[in-house]
């Protein structure tokens, strides 16, 4: 009977050659164009963010190890408190940095989700639901009043400064100076009023609300929870400035708002 082992190696050699040819063909197709699908990670290549995430994991492990060592009696209460406090502070800083870093992406994600659910892409910062249009218009109307006020004060200041340059007598100069100072005060007061004026929307912009699913604190006008993604269903929770979940409704554009301002 013929020894089978040489045949085995001969077949193996042929199979290896075939495998090499297939792999090379796939490689050439990928390199020089072809239908080979490119499967890459969907992770965002964000170096700084990756480092923060790694640091977060490392800090969490350190905290867990520290707790374990403390429970096992290797470290005193005083040392534990000190080290734990420092590590917690640093971890919270990293968490804050991660949150700040992810905000633009969260907004983009919300826009994409809303677009998918609503059938049309919505811009949470540009597009407003129709029922919110009036309040938006009212808001822009208020804003334009304040802006107009500021503009008139500014023009008065400039005029007074110009007249100050032209006046010759001290008394006149003093009067002009006092007028300029008064105008500056008016301008500052107008800016302060602008900053303190409450937003005239159906839902107040300040304040937070708790997510019913994970109890995380969210902005009051948030549509989705920032941690677990729970969608806030209640109308009272709907935001005037964020995109609404309703489909197919036209919303006022920034141009419309500007147009409203110009009309006034």
């Amino acid at each position: 009977m013929t020894d089978p082992l040489p045949w085995l190696f001969a077949v193996g050699a042929c199979a290896a050659l075939g495998g090499a040819l297939v792999a090379l063909w796939a490689s050439f197709r990928a390199a020089f164009g072809g239908a080979v699908p490119i499967e890459l990670s969907s992770d965002v290549d964000h170096d700084a963010r990756v480092r923060l995430l790694e640091e977060k994991e490392s800090l969490l492990k350190n905290l867990a190890d520290l707790r374990f060592d403390h429970e096992a009696g290797k470290i005193s209460d005083a040392d534990f408190e000190r080290l734990d406090g420092k590590l917690r502070e640093r971890t919270k800083t990293v968490l804050r940095l991660l949150d700040a870093d992810v905000e633009p992406f969260r907004a983009e994600a919300e826009r994409l989700i809303a677009g998918r659910l609503g059938g049309a892409p919505r811009d949470p910062f540009r597009e407003v639901a129709p029922e919110k249009r009036e309040s938006a218009s009212a808001k822009s109307s208020e804003e334009s009043t304040t802006k107009k006020e500021k503009k008139s004060v500014r023009e008065a200041m400039l005029a007074q400064e110009r007249s100050s340059e032209e006046s010759t007598t001290k008394k006149e100069k003093k009067e002009v100076r006092e007028a300029v100072l008064a105008a500056q005060d008016d301008l500052a007061a107008a800016s302060k009023r602008d900053a303190e004026a409450p937003a005239k929307t159906d839902v107040p912009k300040t304040g937070t609300k708790a997510c019913p699913s994970c109890a995380t604190s969210n902005d009051v006008d948030a549509v989705f929870c920032k941690k677990c993604g729970h969608r806030f269903e209640s109308a009272s929770e709907a935001s005037a400035s964020s995109n609404a979940g309703d489909a197919g409704e036209a919303t006022a554009s920034e141009g419309e708002a500007k147009g409203a301002e110009e009309e006034r």
Partner: protein, 864 residues
């Protein structure tokens, strides 16, 4: 069988491998610039290269199976009488084939790593693949230009081959080289990751995490390979030992030491962002040492029983090492700004600092062994004088190093990360120190009665103060070894207990708590188990201090008495098979009461193809306490008188048992956590795990199923183990002097059986009988035959530098560590917040983030 032009196709396959590796290298480098399609091309290129390597291996295996003696390599290492199993193992029986075996294993690792990577570490992948392709290319260049396994014989094909060395035709040799090579080759993968990190500048802990599994795999296989080598040496070679500090053995030990240091310090970088430069250095050094070790086996630079024939292949390795060292140094210097530590040591009384001390000792041992191993080269180069560094030198010097390392092994687990409170540490030390004190007292009081005296007699290797100090340490080494072993074992047990207690507070039962403890922190507790294995091995090493040895020539019916045993020589007998004649000598083992407790049958095998090189087949009777080790040196066919060498070796089996525990602990430590498997890309993770597991299983199956050897031996076993020496003084003297017959690998006179050695022994005996002291005889021997004829260099002049420089380095580095540690710890636990970090923190909801942090911790601990 069909006629295939193997030489042609084999050479063609090698050329195609080189082209494919170069193509893969180019594609991978191109992919670095954000062209993902080239990365895909590089991956497929890797698979193609591996397939071509398999093709080459299959062709060579086919040539062996079909006895194609046109190929020089096949004719040299096989013959028609060999069975198919040894024909397979002969693939790596010589230098040429072993290079192809190296390439084959590297191709396997590269394939597994490529599969494992898939969508992970995308920024590192291109350079990882490029590095692995370049290493593959280097070995193919070696084969094509220096040691071609498909080269043909100059003359016509001989009718039959020369056959495989009989010393290589055994079971242990079948699995030792594959395991060792898996360990050696495996370090190329984590090295590829560090190279990628250096090139891309991504020097945070990304590459450490990526390389972790591969570093563990390589370390485990290297450990297994070393252990199997010890077993092979112990059970087959017939000289009675398991580690001879041979240069090639040391060359395998170097990367193991540095790799162990790396595995510890990598943990510190992962946790605290420290030791970045150090870890880069350790990983690069480990890989370079594997190349250096491969070179030592092949270049014939240093005389060794393991070495292949001397060849001019060394220049290729030297060139490769030089290029790599320059490249790595340049890259490291260029990336120094990114290699700054993120944090500092919080306290010298911390596990991080103890890991540093552990690194210090491991590197110190490596430097010492490396300098000693290469001392013959250094001595010849600097002063034109040959010297020999024998096992006696290492056996004495390694004792203090080993004891310090063992102590650090025990202290580390007791100390907390970041900062251990002194009082708490004191409480933690009570039990281990108590156990150590108890063991110290028991050993001192009862050791002698139990056959393990606390203090033993030793030979001093020097007649200087250094020799006396070393001799004193050697004398008390068993006592301190047992004491520190007790300290370490109880300390580790205490760690398991404390961890279990913590979990039991959560309401778990003790066994559940223990199982959960190990399961959720596999790396930590698997590591502790590895330490337990090391302790058991130390117990076995300590037993060597109590060896009892005797030689006797007896006729059938005669007895040999040693320790508590009596061996009765019953009869010789002969058996044969197609390959060899076997001469057995049957002995009955009796206890001190004269009751039969077993039988042993040491033998000599005389192979038909090599009748002048009979092999010694020892017979071993093992139990927990000791091994009875019997060697048959000679047997006279007429008188049936036989010469036996009998050794009682206490505690040897603890070494093998400790090795098993070590491997088990390693497997636990590197078993993937559930969290890692469920992390991000679940489907890819399953394939990755399958890839890594497949690598392990494939390698294990390969190691167990394939037999063979990777190391040719040219020394005749006729020399070994055929000497009758009854006087211990004579044995000590002959052990220091080396045979200069020129046909053996400079075996000591107490074990070389050639005529030249026998004549020298007779002369020396006569002079000893006349009253000449042994030191004078040694000096005279050195004067007559040169310093290379003495197994231990003298402790004077230039030779003193051999131990003085490494010891001075170790002392200076140790002191420097404490000085630097004090400076490092001043910076505190975490970095001060930057301006952007302060801005981000301003106005944030503190309570929310506290809650979130606690939630994250609960998530982490739930997964642990």
């Amino acid at each position: 069988m069909p006629a295939i032009d193997i030489p042609f196709f084999g050479n063609l396959a090698l050329c195609l491998i080189l082209v494919s590796a170069a193509y893969t290298f180019a594609m991978a480098l191109g992919a670095q610039r954000g062209r993902p399609h080239l990365l895909v091309a590089a991956r497929y290129g890797t698979y193609a290269t591996a397939a071509l390597v398999v093709l080459a291996v299959c062709l060579l295996a086919y040539a062996f199976q079909t006895h194609d003696f046109r190929i020089r390599y096949v004719a040299r290492y096989s013959d028609r009488s060999m069975t198919w199993g040894y024909l397979v193992t002969a693939l790596w029986g010589g230098q040429d084939g072993s290079l192809l075996w190296w390439t084959f294993l590297l191709a396997g690792y590269t394939t597994a790593c490529t599969r494992w990577l898939r969508g992970r570490f995308l920024e590192l992948q291109p350079i990882v693949l490029a590095t692995l392709a370049s290493i593959l290319g280097f070995f193919v260049v070696l084969m094509l230009f220096a040691a071609n396994p498909f080269a043909t014989t100059v003359a016509a094909a001989p009718p039959d081959g020369e056959g495989l060395n009989p010393l290589l035709q055994n079971y242990w040799m079948a699995i030792h080289p594959p395991a060792l090579y898996l360990g050696f080759v495996g370090w190329a993968v984590p090295f590829a990751f560090v190279m990628a990190a250096l090139v891309t500048g991504r020097l945070h802990d990304e590459w450490i995490r990526a390389a972790r599994l591969w570093a563990m795999i390589a370390w485990v296989w290297l450990s297994i390979g070393l252990l199997l080598g010890c077993l092979w040496s112990y059970e087959e070679l017939g000289w009675g030992g398991y580690w001879a500090w041979d240069p090639v053995e040391n060359a395998s030990f170097h990367p193991w030491l540095v790799g162990t240091a790396y595995l510890h310090s990598a943990i510190v970088q992962e946790r605290y962002g420290m030791l970045k430069v150090w870890n880069v250095f350790l990983m690069c050094l480990t890989f370079l040492l594997t190349i250096f070790g491969t070179m030592l086996t092949r270049a014939g630079l240093i005389s060794s029983v393991h070495a292949f024939a001397r060849s001019d292949i060394g220049i290729y390795f030297v060139g490769y090492l030089a290029v790599m060292i320059v490249l790595l140094v340049a890259l490291t210097i260029f990336r120094l700004p990114k290699l700054r530590a993120d944090h500092r040591i919080d306290s010298l009384l911390s596990r991080e600092f103890l890991f540093l001390l552990n690194n210090w000792m491991l590197l110190g041992i490596m430097i010492f062994v490396l300098v000693s191993t290469t001392w013959p080269l250094i001595s010849e180069w600097l002063r034109g004088q040959e010297v020999t560094v024998g096992p006696g030198f290492y056996n004495q010097w390694m004792v203090p190093f080993g004891l310090i390392l063992l102590f650090l092994t025990g202290l580390g687990p007791l100390v907390a990360w970041r900062k251990a409170t002194a009082s708490n540490l004191g409480r933690a030390l009570i039990a281990p120190l108590g156990a150590a004190a108890l063991m110290f007292t028991l050993h001192l009081a009862l050791g002698a009665a139990a056959g393990f005296p606390a203090v033993v007699e030793t030979d001093e290797i020097y007649d200087t103060l250094t020799g006396r100090i070393l001799g004193s340490i050697q004398a008390v080494a068993p006592l301190f070894s047992s004491t520190i072993c007790a300290f370490v074992l109880v300390g580790i047990g205490q760690e398991f207990w404390r961890g279990t207690k913590v979990r039991m507070k959560k309401g778990e039962g003790p066994f559940t708590a223990l199982a959960q403890l190990v399961s959720r922190a596999r790396r930590r507790y698997g590591g502790y188990l590895v330490h337990v294995g090391i302790v058991f091995m130390y117990v076995g090493f300590t037993g060597a201090a109590y060896d009892v040895e005797k030689e006797a020539a007896v006729r059938p019916g005669g007895t040999v008495e040693i320790a508590d045993y009596t061996l009765r020589y019953d009869r010789p007998r002969m058996e044969s098979d197609p390959n060899k004649r076997m001469i057995f000598t049957d002995l009955t083992v009796l206890d001190e009461d004269g009751d039969e407790i077993g039988r042993v049958a040491p033998a000599k095998f005389i192979y038909r193809t090599m009748p002048d090189m009979p092999t010694t087949e020892v017979s071993i009777r093992s139990n927990v306490r000791e091994d009875l080790y019997v060697i048959m040196s000679t047997v006279d066919s007429q008188s049936r008188r036989a010469t036996f060498r009998v050794v009682v070796r206490p505690l040897v089996s603890w070494i093998w048992f400790g090795g098993l525990i070590l491997v088990l602990g390693s497997v636990i430590a590197m078993w993937p956590q559930a969290r890692d498997v469920m992390d991000r890309q679940i489907a890819l993770a399953k394939r990755r795990r399958g890839g890594a597991a497949a690598t392990m299983l494939l390698a294990l199956a390969g190691a167990l199923s394939l037999g063979g050897s990777a190391q040719a031996q040219d020394s005749s076993s006729l020399h070994a183990g055929t000497v009758v020496i009854e006087d211990p003084e004579e044995r000590r003297l002959f052990g220091r002097l080396l045979c200069q017959c020129g046909s053996c690998q400079r075996l000591p006179l107490d074990s070389c059986g050639c005529d030249w050695a026998e004549q020298r022994r007779a002369e020396l005996r006569a002079r000893m009988s006349a009253g000449e002291p042994p030191d004078d005889l040694i000096a005279a021997f050195r004067g007559q035959y040169g310093p290379a004829a003495i197994s231990i260099p003298s402790d004077e002049g230039f030779d003193r530098a051999m131990w003085a420089i490494p010891v001075a380095l170790v002392v200076v580095l140790g002191g420097g560590l404490f000085v630097m540690g004090r400076r490092w710890r001043a910076k505190g636990v975490v970095a001060a917040p930057t301006a952007s970090e302060k801005k981000a923190a301003a106005g944030a909801d503190e309570a929310d983030y506290d809650a979130r942090l606690d939630e994250e911790l609960r998530r982490l601990e739930g997964d642990r």
